[in-house]
Amino acid sequence: MSKVSSLGHVGISVTDMDKMLDFYTRILGLTVTDGGEGRGVFLSASPETEHHEFLISPQPDRHTNAQQISFKIESLDELREMYHDLRDYGIDTFRITNHGVAIGCYFRDPENNHVEVYWSTGMDYPQPHGEPIDLDLSTPELVSIIENMTPKEGSGPKYYGRDAGKRLLASVPKMAR
């Protein structure tokens, strides 16, 4: 039985290509792999293995209105640095959230797309879950907050990450499938 193996890329519509390209390359650090010259631009964080993960296309009359576009980052220190870079760039409104499975830094890109950069904790925690967290705490303090999260009832079984005993089985099965 065939099934898809993973999310590969997403494409969004853009009004100001120069501004958006500058933001996604210089601030988020994606590499331009192809395109341009008035058409869409292909971007990737791992261009050797993935030709594009993100495609921005000039379509001024459309807005993608994604519920979220979320990019991974490899360490907590890098997440903090990215948060500071975004602030220096001029973004002034953030929502920094501890999801248990990840710490996410949510903001609006220059064209009001809802973007998240997140560091995966590697620990399972039932979703959805979000509580505000201060990214300017030290890395050990942040890790301690995650380790000490209260176990919570999950709708499904454990799939993701390390089982730290945080997923309590639902008393009544809620999973339809």
Binding site: K72, S120, P128
Partner: protein, 176 residues
């Protein structure tokens, strides 16, 4: 210098949650990893052990996501052929099936008209954008020959992705 390491997940607004969950889990084969109260949000992943969610479906009565494309990997050409049949059988409209050189992609509309692609990466570099219609009912050999026979063409970028088989000509060489 901090940089993101990859696309992780994408969230789309949906109206009919049961229908959309059915499609993304039943047809595309993603695993539901968690669900919110009253299914206001449902999380799905293609490899749930390493990624908690790659798609978040968020119920909204009035918001609509208009993505250029939401594209999923599939592991083999045989799987892509099978998935193409499954998607058509599910009643979704197939927009186009194309050879991108770097991938064969099957583009279609999900039950709420989002533009979705399932693609098999060929592992070979080819300058983008490029798309040529193909027929997935052709034999694997015939389809692979299409990749081999692609003419070299100019790319705007240097070679990054996949195997370099000499199909990417420098921009300047062509202009001269």
């Amino acid at each position: 210098m901090a940089k993101v390491s990859g696309l992780g997940h994408f969230g789309i607004f949906v109206r009919d949650m049961p229908k959309m969950v059915d499609f993304y889990s039943g047809v595309l084969g993603l695993t539901v990893t968690d669900r919110g109260p009253e299914d206001r949000i449902v999380f799905l992943s293609g490899h749930p052990e390493t990624e908690h969610h790659e798609i978040a479906l968020a119920k909204s009565p009035d918001q609509k996501t208009d993505a250029g494309q939401v594209s999923f990997h599939i592991d083999s050409l045989a799987d892509l052929k099978d998935m193409h049949k499954k998607i058509a059988a599910s009643g979704c409209e197939i927009d186009r099936v194309v050879n991108h050189g770097i991938a064969f992609g099957c583009y279609f509309r999900d039950p709420e008209d989002n533009r979705v692609e399932v693609y098999w990466s060929t592992g070979v570099d080819y300058p983008q954008p490029y798309a040529d219609p193909i027929d997935l009912s052709a034999s694997d050999d015939a389809l692979m020959k299409l990749i081999e026979d692609l003419p070299a063409r100019a790319g705007t970028g240097p070679h990054y992705y996949g195997k370099d088989v000499g199909k990417r000509l420098p921009r300047e060489a062509v202009k001269a």
